[in-house]
Symmetry: C3
Subunit: 138 residues, 3 copies
């Protein structure tokens, strides 16, 4: 068994879900393994990871609106050093995932038919985000 790691850089242009399935599957596929485990780790506290519906843009828009509603800007937050979207970003990150692990079976990530991997940008301004990728297997 062997392992490989990399840091994937993901530029984000706006708040919301940005699909990264292709970049992630491309790197994993390039390591020449048939069976293994891929781990993604988001190195930020104001962006997060989500596996969600990859077919319906409506579902993505509803997801973005939902998290904007349950962790809203304008709440009574003590922490607002970086503006009104600062603390809601941490809350939305806490409610979703900082890390994902996906088995590799027969040379392919075991994603379901309708699953895509998304970076969820919670800040309003564009950012360069970094996701640590770790793959181990044979």
């Amino acid at each position: 068994m062997r392992q490989a790691t990399t840091l994937l850089e993901v530029p984000t242009e706006r708040q919301g879900l940005r699909e990264i399935t292709r970049e992630v599957a491309g790197w994993a596929g390039g390591q020449g393994m048939r069976e293994g485990l891929l781990t993604l780790f988001c190195r930020h506290t104001s962006a997060s990871l989500l596996v969600q519906e990859n077919a319906a843009p409506d579902a993505r828009a509803d997801l973005e609106r939902y998290f904007a509603r349950i962790a809203p800007e304008g709440g009574d937050y003590a922490h607002d050093d970086e503006g009104p979207d600062d603390m809601p970003a941490h809350l939305r990150a806490a409610l979703t995932a900082v890390q994902l692990a996906i088995p590799l079976i027969d040379g392919r990530l075991a994603l379901g038919t309708w699953q895509g991997i998304y970076l969820f940008e919670h800040r309003r301004r564009p950012h360069r985000r970094t996701i640590a990728l770790h793959l181990l297997g044979d």
Copy 2:
């Protein structure tokens, strides 16, 4: 170190939590390893995974009611192709886990005394769900 993978099929009869600890621990135990890491990956965007209280049925019912309340049917969703339980299912999945990893120590999953592994079905109709299992260890 070696690895094993399988696809576990889980039929669900209704919306809510369905315990799968026995099926998961049974497969993992059958691989003859003493120390390792088990990963579960739910291949769906309208069902998810949860480790929760395995003793009190009341706690499970409260959990189900809670998620029905914070991600309700009848919200103002753009995405409702498959009915009123469609978009809430995606939201409830996003709030819980698509993936779990549990260490194997001394030949047993390192679950706490009161922890059970659950598939959380978010759709009203029965479904056949698939969970990818990956175990590596010695």
Copy 3:
């Protein structure tokens, strides 16, 4: 490739976020690996794990207040065997993470600059919590 496991005991004094980055990184660093994957698994259903902002105490206080608000004591819960903070503890655990996995790159956990690892104690009384740690790598 090789692996190591341990059970990390974490005493909690009060409800809220308790940083465990130093203990976790210390154990992982002591295994002498350069590249690998560290998994943390919280063996409880009324405490959980969170990677969050490690610099601003205000952000931690806002996080604690937020989860107290969206999964409040005094809700209409069937399960209250252990008091009013019992069921909200399960809900807050379900909304955050029971498990985290962090790649090890160049001998260091791939945490971002502002990321700390926290045990999130959801009960009011002090507890002794146990986190299973699993590291594999080279």
